[in-house]
Symmetry: C2
Subunit: 801 residues, 2 copies
């Protein structure tokens, strides 16, 4: 196929079309400036006075005229071709532009009837922007047609590809600002084209908007030569098409002609593609060079503004107090000739209104940007059928995530027809033991394939690239357009996307308050290859702190689960896949570990979220002397081993064992919807007995969750205290004093009544720790009594489960 050149032949727009599209653009620009500045006098019926101007001038003008320009031209293509397009606005700071356009096309007033399509509505539109009780300054959930806030930069293109996967009829136009293009996540997201299948997926049209400046600086890409830019994006696998200029007429012609040819090209690509052996096409992209703050003030106070960083936010700012500035603003607004754009009622003139697409083709009304409208619930198998058969606690070892993989494989199969489920992971699906999914599908791969490759195909549904940012960004885009996903990751490296999950949780929090936004499937994480079994990779791979970050987010959104074995993991995984508008974090190991609960027990335990494992304790219906509590698979095993030691050495001690699966049950119900009542908490943890709590992560989190509980002063939490290296699995627990001996010693120390007997037992345990220290240094693996330890008390020694 021939290269797409910039256009120099027949103009794409005749004089009428040119005039109309330019007026439409001016209307959007007028409304954008109005939102930034005005709280009254929206049609400039009177000369601008201080009281018409907002006291706090907020918003980002610089990027907005370019965004409006693109919007107008996408409208044209939609109308001409009945194209199904959503608009991802990377420079989300340009909120006024997206709001303006969705008001022009009528969507805004449909969703927010008080912001009507007339002068009164325009006045509200202006005043509400960045105003208390109004709407935010960015492209936020409140903005129709948006799935991308763009407040934190870097993720627009990954979101765009995520939206395009499995949406073969959709075109995702994605504006990438040249500031955002400097970020790492964006720089690698260009490679997403190696994962997009032209048959079954939609199209992404990246528009790199080189408007030249960031807040205070030129941008790197804007200062590259065209040759270097062309080479860079050719290297990324695209066919870059340049559109450059500042003269509106010429720019309209160029943009219209280019989009015409690009959409022809899309059609060619789609026609040529076959599912059996799709070739990776060289997708077109646009490099749009236009002035920052285009059509805004050229000079203010003698300084150049348009086409410099000074146009980034509010280009002329003392309009309330400085009559000269106010005049610049008035002249600027009038330069768009509002009465040529809006009729006397304040409505957009009909010939301009006719330019907007109709119904759900309007980008503000496209249901893909309100994905819950399109979501089909996931079909899930009965998770019980994958159950590990546990006869007695600890009588067998299994790999929890491997079992979950079998469940996920069948989720994949059951939803293959609707093509609305994908699994994501940074090259770790197999490493995390979810390989069973490869019985149902492959990794998607649109680059070169060799005979020796395994589980790679153009039609795969497992998304793997060594970039947590990409996995997260794709998944967010996929979820927000109404599909389902599952992300497995090494626990330590999920911190790489801390800021992204924070932004996604914020998005969900706000969306939930908007009735017109429908719930979307939850963001589900499986964190595995976790801190306690990164004994082989060492210290850099040991960090359980993601949960701490998540716990700071809105409690309506976040859930954290620590299933202690395979059957509980099955319940939790199944549960999470059926939830909406949540961030679910599941932490579970992949190594062979003892299995504790039957499936029936697992269901009861998980439904409660936390509970007593009566078979493990010795309280026998009486008040316990000590509570041994735990959350996490390795802490559960060490707690049970500690109880075993205590039962052997201090047979009269009354021990209660409590396991916590759903961490948020520990909070009080006022702070989290899953929180248990104080009465229930006291019933589990007692009101005055020592609680030795073995926790998977940083111990402080437990204190933070339970500090208001009556028995909190008696909580002694062990967890990861930032000690680790390449060593044996058990030594990892010893280094952090979470091992069975330390837990048992701690319990005895908290029971002064044991006196000399207790001291002797402690001495024995300390001797074991010394032996361990020497043993591993000689043998390189854990002592047999640790490696081979099994729970031997069965299920019925003291009471039935």
């Amino acid at each position: 196929m021939s290269e797409i050149h910039s256009h120099h032949g027949e103009p794409a727009l005749d004089a009428t079309e040119l005039s109309l599209i330019d007026r439409y653009w001016r209307a959007a620009n007028y409304l954008s400036v109005g939102q930034i500045y005005l709280m009254d006098n929206p049609l400039l019926r009177q000369p601008l006075a201080p009281e018409h101007i907002k006291p706090r001038l907020l918003g980002h003008w610089g990027t907005t005229p370019g965004l409006n320009f693109i919007y107008a031209h996408l409208n044209r293509i939609i109308t001409r071709r009945d194209a199904n397009i959503i608009y991802i606005c990377g420079p989300g700071h340009g909120g006024p532009g997206m709001v303006a356009n969705t008001w022009l096309e009528g969507v805004y007033s449909e969703i927010y009837p008080h912001v009507s399509a007339d002068e009164a509505g325009m006045r509200r539109l202006f005043k509400q922007f960045s105003f208390p009780g109004g709407v935010p300054s960015h492209v936020a959930p409140e903005t129709p047609g948006s799935i991308h806030e763009g407040g934190e930069l870097g993720y627009s293109l990954a979101h765009a590809y995520g939206a395009a996967f499995d949406n073969p009829d959709l075109v995702v136009a994605c504006v990438v600002g040249d500031g955002e293009a400097e970020t790492g996540p964006l720089a690698t997201a260009w490679h997403s084209n190696k994962f997009l299948n032209p048959v079954r997926d939609g199209v992404v049209l990246p528009i790199l908007h080189l408007n030249g400046y960031k807040i205070a600086n030129p941008t790197v890409l804007a200062r590259l030569s065209d040759d270097d830019l062309r080479a860079l994006f050719t290297g990324y696998g695209y066919e870059p098409v340049f559109i450059e200029g500042h003269e509106p007429e010429a720019m309209h012609q160029l943009m219209a002609a280019t989009l015409d040819r690009i959409f022809d090209r899309f059609a060619d690509i789609r026609r040529a593609a076959t599912l059996e052996s799709p070739e990776r096409p060289r997708w077109p992209m646009i490099i749009l060079r236009s002035p920052k703050g285009w059509t805004g003030p050229k000079f203010v106070d003698g300084k150049m503004v348009e086409n410099t960083w000074r146009a980034h936010q509010v280009p002329v700012d003392a309009c309330r107090t400085n009559a000269g500035h106010r005049q610049i603003l008035e002249d600027w607004l009038k330069s768009y000739d509002p009465h040529d754009l809006f009729d006397d009622s304040g409505a957009l003139r009909p010939e301009l209104k006719a330019l907007a697409p109709k119904g759900v083709r309007r980008m503000g009304a496209n249901p893909h940007a309100n994905g819950g409208l399109l979501t089909r619930p996931l079909v899930t198998p009965d998770f019980r059928q994958y159950a590990v058969a546990v006869a007695e606690p600890g009588d067998r070892e299994d790999q929890a995530t491997l079992i979950l993989g079998q469940y996920l494989r069948d989720v994949m199969r059951l939803n293959a027809g609707t093509a609305n489920f994908r699994v994501f992971g940074p090259d770790e699906t197999a490493s995390n033991r979810l390989s069973a999914v490869f019985e149902a599908t492959d990794r998607v791969w649109m680059a070169e394939t060799l005979d020796s490759d395994e589980h790679l195909s153009a039609d795969g549904r497992v998304m793997e690239i060594l970039s947590e940012h990409m996995c997260q960004g794709w998944l967010e885009g996929y979820l927000l357009t109404g599909r389902h996903g599952f992300f497995s990751c090494y626990e330590a490296f999920i911190h790489i996307i801390d800021s992204m999950v924070s932004q996604h949780a914020k998005w969900l929090q706000v969306s939930r308050e908007l009735e017109w936004r429908k719930p979307v499937p939850s963001l589900n994480y499986l964190l595995t290859s976790h801190v306690w079994r990164q004994d082989h990779n060492g210290f850099s791979h040991q960090d359980p702190g993601f949960v701490d970050l998540v716990a700071n987010k809105n409690p309506e959104i976040v859930r954290v689960y620590f299933p202690p074995d395979a059957n509980t993991l099955l319940w939790v995984g199944d549960h999470c896949l059926k939830t909406w508008d949540r961030v679910n974090v599941i932490v579970a190991g992949k190594q062979p570990e003892p299995q504790w609960l039957t499936m029936d027990e697992a269901v009861r335990h998980c439904e409660a979220g936390a509970g007593v494992w009566r078979w493990a304790g010795t309280e026998d219906g009486l008040e316990p002397d000590v509570v041994m509590a735990c959350a996490g698979d390795v802490p559960t095993k060490e707690t049970l081993a500690a109880i075993d030691l205590l039962r052997q050495n201090l047979p009269h001690l009354r021990i209660r064992m409590v396991n916590v699966v759903d961490l948020m049950t520990l909070q009080d119900p006022q702070h989290h919807p899953h929180g248990m009542s104080d009465a229930e908490f006291d019933r589990l943890f007692t009101s005055d007995r020592p609680v030795i709590f073995a926790y998977h992560g940083y111990p402080y989190l437990i204190h933070r969750l339970v500090y208001k509980r009556r028995n909190h002063p008696n909580f002694h939490v062990r967890g990861y205290i930032e000690q680790g290296t390449t060593t044996t699995p058990f030594d990892m627990t010893v280094l952090n004093e979470l091992d069975r001996y330390h837990l048992a010693i701690e319990a005895i120390r908290r029971l002064p009544i044991l006196e000399e007997k207790g001291a002797a037992v402690i001495a024995g345990f300390e001797e074991k720790l010394r032996k361990h220290h020497d043993w591993i240094r000689e043998h390189g693996e854990d002592m047999p009594e640790v490696r081979e330890w099994r729970w031997t008390w069965g299920r019925g020694e003291t009471a039935s489960g």
Copy 2:
């Protein structure tokens, strides 16, 4: 300058040189395999037996032979040209290779004498690797010559550039694995060449190592055509040179010839460059395609291993129990012909030893990779000279970061000669009000410059790119090579580098335990544009949780400061710049805010870390009824305003005001070296009075820090509870119930003795909150009584400060 082609003429190495360099490479490969597998029988004097093999086989073979190949050839260049080279090993998992090479060159035995340069030492070298009590599996701080662990991938190239800045004689060879190259941070780091000045900075030689596979997958870049790769790296601004093959002889010739020409080219570039108008050269880079697991087993159990992902870690793994596997290992080890490489004592044969560089030219001994050896302390001005003159508390407003900027400007000036201080920020130095530094220097910029640009120059010392990853990565590289830096960032977006600071803190923690590693300057953050004054950008820009992450790291490393005004910020900033091996986090606002302390008071207060502001309280030497505590500038202001309200409405109430600058003082001294004693804590916060604590961030952190204190049950903490939008500054505090009215109400509620009088006062405050709600929606800014509030009680109403 002509392009560097792959070589096809005269061979670079004669037969002797070729044989020697190949043997050196084989020696490194032999030692690498030995480390992964053997705990005894290092020279294979006996047939391999199970007891010679480690019980846990750990390590990553796949990348290692390529790393060793590069190491051998860099040694050659160093020796031929007396080049000053450090080696950044992006695929840090290839630890065995770096350990092997530093042992071969003698450095390892100098640093760790028990790992001697003989058979006994070789046995220890093998056994210690990934063995309890030994060394980690990655290129960790324990590895001589390293400043980069490479456990979490993505940062090698940013580290390399950071090391090269201001080191004009240094060449930083940086191996980038093709897995790592998929990450976002790495994908943007290629653009670092726009910030490297060929006159005053060193050289970075990127070596993109395409060995084809990640853990379980091909890599994206390895499956691009050479044309696309060439275009991509040309677009990034480099001159890519391909080296491809698997036949050792041909590869040695290619690599030697290519390095010869590249180093010629470096010399040409350096000669051509002038400081006045340096042109950005097209720096050469190498694209090395070699098989994954090169020279390792070709097939195991009928499956292809070499040149597939199966060679990623341990290519043949049942060597203890499976004689066939053991034979494969023995054949593999013998394929390197160890007796041709090592003499009977186990020492490297002299003709091979002669290939290693000498002294500090050995890459393991290069002092740049142990930067503390080269550090010159920063020259700092007396921070007192920038003091804001505070006559009475709150009598003037200033912008704290603007004042700090003046101090930083002079730090920049005082160290201009030694060129060892840089300021980093993602396009935010001016936005964060540190613009005074531009009186002393510019932003560095090696791309195109226009007449309208300001503060850009090839010789600038402010590093700005819209990528927190890049700022962090460059700064880490700069610090670890012994220089000083200061990173200012929007508070919310510092989460982008959560995982990087975690890795850096781990690096410092381990380094501190190694006597031979010298302390390096601290990593200093100024987090500004913070949650309480992101009222204009809205919810996406509001996240104070970075401190929570940092607080999980080793207490010997981390410090967190909340200076409440400009003079305290000056003390804190000055203090942090003079510390070593720390991560210092400073949180301070940039907006005009009241100033509270004179410089003398600020010094006393900061030295204590926390203290009573007696002028603000009304305790008058008696026990207070209530403690109003705070940390952070906005919380301090709201707390003082709340005290003002209480003093007006309840004049007999005895109030104590406590301000915390150094957050870690709240912990107990066993948990943090800055922690205050229980006695001191009780003295400040009392043992039984209600404490209303207004905290800058998520309130749980305070509970986590003080849960062990006697008075903790009476702590009532207000902070950010994830409520926010684009609204007024004061409304942000109201939404999160951190404002003066909520604080005062909380205090009264905790004092039931106030009874009806208190209820009436509360009703009045609640009325104010209703008025606020309505007022801002009408006027768009805060009520005058809030905006214009000033502290009017002076300094001496109740007691002297």
